[in-house]
């Protein structure tokens, strides 16, 4: 088979591996442990602080941070938020087809330092269909971010609009709370 015909056969027969979930794939009360995790480097921390003009020397001057009692410079808290939210996107919002509506009750519970590794957990708290427009709904999750010691560094609620007419959600992703049976 020539390269060109093989390529054309691939284009014609490839099956889309969808990503993301739709509104009806969620259940109130479920706990979702998200993929990947992320080690925050010093370069991440300083680049984020500087691109967003977050001008508090805690976030980019190690000696200043030490004078304030920290072992290292402090990772800009908005980077912590964005990494935790980022880790939740594939399951929680990539397939919903609607924008994120708001974030509430956000608490920065402990400082994060370069070298720390963060993971994210979501709890689906509320789901409702929009009264004003058919085919739309709103989902609210309680998100938590943990460091490598299992200590919670951030928590918040966020809501997202979902559009389920012509839903683009992908295969149901298995969501298993820690300690529960995986085939439940």
């Amino acid at each position: 088979m020539s390269d060109q015909s093989e390529f054309e056969a691939v284009l014609a027969s490839a099956v889309l591996r969808k990503r993301g979930q739709g509104f009806h794939d969620f259940e109130v009360g479920e706990v979702i442990h998200h993929h990947w995790g992320r080690t925050i480097t010093e370069a991440d921390a300083i680049q984020f602080a500087h691109l967003t003009l977050a001008y508090n020397p805690l976030y980019f001057n190690r000696e200043y941070a030490k004078e304030l009692g920290h072992p290292d410079l402090v990772v800009c808290p908005q980077l912590v938020f964005n990494v935790i939210l980022g880790l939740t996107v594939e399951i929680c919002s990539e397939g919903l087809g609607g924008p994120f509506l708001g974030v509430y009750d956000l608490k920065y519970l402990e400082p994060v330092y370069p070298g720390d590794t963060l993971t994210a957990v979501s709890k689906t708290e509320a789901m409702r269909e929009s009264e004003s427009s058919e085919g739309r709904g709103i989902i609210t999750w309680f998100n938590e971010g943990f460091n490598q010691h299992g200590r919670k560094v951030i928590e918040y609620r966020r809501s997202n609009l979902a559009i389920w007419k012509g839903q683009i959600g992908g295969a149901k992703v298995k969501k298993v709370a820690q300690g529960e049976k995986a085939d439940g």
Binding site: Y55, N56, V89, P99
Partner: protein, 160 residues
């Protein structure tokens, strides 16, 4: 290191803020791929509407939509030097709402209002709650967010 207090401004300690005070921040910043695509990808937000120009060209928006987390982080940043440069810690955020879509090339500016001041459980710092407003070049409200910060007191930190 030299004198600690010489590294930050001397007019944004806890004592300097008054409830009701409104600040217009000096700098704006134009949102480009450097902010939106770079930060969206570095935090692993996998929603390709924030980084796939081809896909977005086939939607009613016609172009990449900036990620809301970047929008309000930039608003918080634009307000940072005047409000939390002397913070010991940012304690939390609340009531984050995204009002207007942002595209590459839009320029954001920030305003802040002091909502509340109170003592903390430590003598050398107090808590201030700010409401930050992000506006675009057309003076449309883009994002709004309340930030609570633990801010140094002059009485304890200005001589350090």
């Amino acid at each position: 290191m030299g004198k600690l207090a010489s590294l930050t401004s001397s007019d944004n300690y806890f004592e300097d803020f008054e409830v009701g005070q409104v600040i217009r921040h000096a700098r704006g910043k134009t949102m480009t791929q450097l902010e939106n695509v770079n930060i969206t990808n570095m935090v692993m937000n996998t929603a390709q509407g924030h980084f796939n120009e081809d896909q977005m060209s086939k939607t009613p928006l016609g172009k990449i939509l900036c990620y809301g987390g970047v929008n309000f982080s930039l608003v918080l940043g634009l307000a940072s030097q005047d409000t939390v440069e002397n913070a010991l810690a940012e304690l939390g955020l609340d009531n984050i709402t995204l009002k207007t879509m942002v595209f590459h090339g839009d320029t954001l500016y920030a305003y802040s209002k002091v909502l509340e001041k109170r003592d903390s459980d430590q003598d050398d710092a107090g808590i201030v709650v700010f409401r930050h407003f992000g506006v675009n070049q057309n003076k449309e409200l883009v994002a709004q967010v309340d930030r609570t910060a633990l801010i140094k007191k002059k009485s304890h930190w200005l001589d350090r």
